[in-house]
Symmetry: C4
Subunit: 231 residues, 4 copies
């Protein structure tokens, strides 16, 4: 069942150590099928070096395991909340990548400091509030999903393909599993450079909106002229 999607999700998970985003098993990638009723996700706590496509777990949108012998990622409920909310999100990834997590631990949003950021994220990358004790009690993982949705607000998710959960780390997403991981790599690199920039210029000189818009629209939307896909 969903063999191609299993392979795709496996490959995306294996890209996490390849791009230096994870230590041990600290990350997980999922993707949703075209019918948008089944999600393929990494099993919980399994080492990347030993994972195969058959280890991937298939769950429905309520989190019931439909296929697979292993327990799905402990963050599954967060992924599902995003798929239920956003029709254009096809893949979700969570990591504890070093620089993005450091911003999250600092409870600071990442302002637009340069064109690298503007090429992918159409504005400040927000850092969420903390969940309350009641929320943690009620349903920690699912309400982390709600928190992401609350933090994004009216922003279309593919124009802001990742955010920071306060004192936790980044979640990122994309059209599919591969795109989600791509955006997680970008977010980590933006965070790395923003950290160095904050050291050199604590006042943080933000990129003016007219250059942000120029760069974002070079790569996205109907007038995009970056890459080989003629719009």
């Amino acid at each position: 069942m969903l063999d191609a999607l299993r392979e795709e999700v496996l490959a995306a998970n294996l890209d996490l150590p390849k791009y230096g985003l994870v230590t041990f098993t600290w990350g997980n990638v999922s993707a949703i099928n075209d019918a948008r009723d089944l999600v393929v996700i990494k099993p919980s706590g399994v080492a990347y070096e030993n994972m195969s496509a058959s280890d991937m777990v298939i769950v429905d949108l309520k989190g019931n395991v439909v296929e697979g012998t292993l327990r799905p990622s402990s963050d599954t409920a967060t992924h599902l909340a995003l798929y239920r909310q956003y029709d254009d999100v096809g893949g979700v990834v969570h990591t504890h990548s070093s620089n993005a997590t450091s911003w999250a631990q600092s409870q600071r949003s990442i302002p637009v400091l340069g064109t690298t950021h503007a090429d992918y994220f159409n504005g400040t990358i927000p850092c969420s509030r903390l969940l309350t004790p009641e929320e943690v009690e009620q349903g920690y993982e699912e309400l982390t999903g709600s928190l992401i949705i609350e933090t994004l607000g009216d922003t279309p998710p593919l124009t802001m393909p990742g955010i920071l959960i306060s004192n936790h780390g980044p979640f990122a997403w994309g059209k599919d599993a591969h795109g989600a991981v791509h955006n997680a790599v970008v977010l980590e690199e933006i965070a790395r450079m923003a950290l160095a920039t904050a050291q050199l210029n604590p006042g943080l000189a933000q990129l003016p909106d007219y250059i942000l818009n120029k760069h974002y629209s070079r790569k996205h939307g109907k007038n995009a002229y970056y890459g080989q896909n003629k719009a």
Copy 2:
């Protein structure tokens, strides 16, 4: 004698360069046998690339060499003090890993800044005091072991599987040699992110206890639901 444990200790020592925790010979891992009367430990000052299982040294809990032609690690007495004190500690590791050592050199404990920390260490990772001139004179390595025990105080060692020795570096431990090294890798990564966090937010916004408890208990104890081991 203890051939399987020798192999295990060798493998754990070889993981130190693999995970970037050591330069040259600056680290050592040991493990204790099930009878808890013999300890297998790395020889002193031998390069990792040339080590074999037969180079591992077997000592009793007083530090007498029971088997092996090489001199055991100069830190052996510290390891033994921990095995004598803590029945649930099966492996011990010492490194000079870059970020954890930098915190130790700063004489600062690492507060709980995020869930990465909370997943493994159930509270602030303490930095010890300095040994006094008399203690250094009396028995530097053994009293470093006593210092670790003093610094841990009433904390069960497996809930705080590593600490910092002031102006020296980290010691970590676990149920066995592999677990000890795993915790040393985690400690180094926590220290790396805490350093960046301190640069971004010198006031250091600590993770609230209710999230610390949630994350620690997701992975540890009878209600754990992370990974594949059903509690």
Copy 3:
């Protein structure tokens, strides 16, 4: 057409990931032919691992594609402005390398802090102003080329083989594609060390001019005595 130059430009582009200067496709190298009427440049948005010499695009100095089926780099107009202006520039490179980009995002020029800098860059590496909204509107990439020329002013380009574009990143150049990439690697390393230096000594103790001149002239000009090329 220009087969040798295609190979040279391909090799120079592949050096970008080799030297850790790029994430994904965030960089591009070009070179001009001896007749100085045709430029070979990387295609836009193509992954390095899949690029071949035949993917390189040949354009004239107005940016018309003369040979090649792919779209040239979106930064082509910037490269061309430099070739039109500077007769001794044979290769141009643009990256978002982490440390140089962080200085650019900080809107700070890099002063001469040491002999590493003095060996290659004969003075402060300037950071440009921002383009105005009108300039961005009129011709973003071409006017970025004009901005580089404005920022260099009277400085001969091969004595200052790279600069920073404010809130964007570095451009570098050289006698040929290989030399351009070499200078981009040097600029990144200078930026890395300047960042650490700024952390240790925010006042920044600049290298005196008499040592700058000594080092620069050891490697460049008719009295150079570094390397194997007898002047």
Copy 4:
């Protein structure tokens, strides 16, 4: 002539990129023969990947080339000044390694912040003054050697096997070429951790002398008990 020493010096030079101490050709290692009248040194500006033992240059203590077709390192005169002054120095190395160079660019000596430092360097690692314009004019490389000797003062060179040249970078040495490179690696790692320590604790809590002495004497001198060489 001196074939074994050539191989040793080649191997030591190749260790520089292996340990991440050099970019391009920015480093050089030499060693002196037992008779202490001939020095084998890396040629100037030759890429490490292409170097062979036969490329090594043999010079006498006045700097005359005795054997070899290539020009010796431009820093040869600095190396020779050290061999003439110190009978127990058998190998010398110069690099622009990132962290040690950053301290040099900051014009700051590295205080003893931890036992990693104390294991190898018996006190603060000094940063030199700058050469005067007259000294640069008179003989830059040879007087850099004099500057190292002045900076060391009465300190026996093997107890302080490396220093920082202000706004330039580190020189290190040892009993032979291999030992010199070993000490350069240690110096770089000490500098890396001292940078992070300075960020966490700008006041810098130095290791007390009684622990410095304990650690230094564990590894050096007649009562050493680290490693496998029974004193």
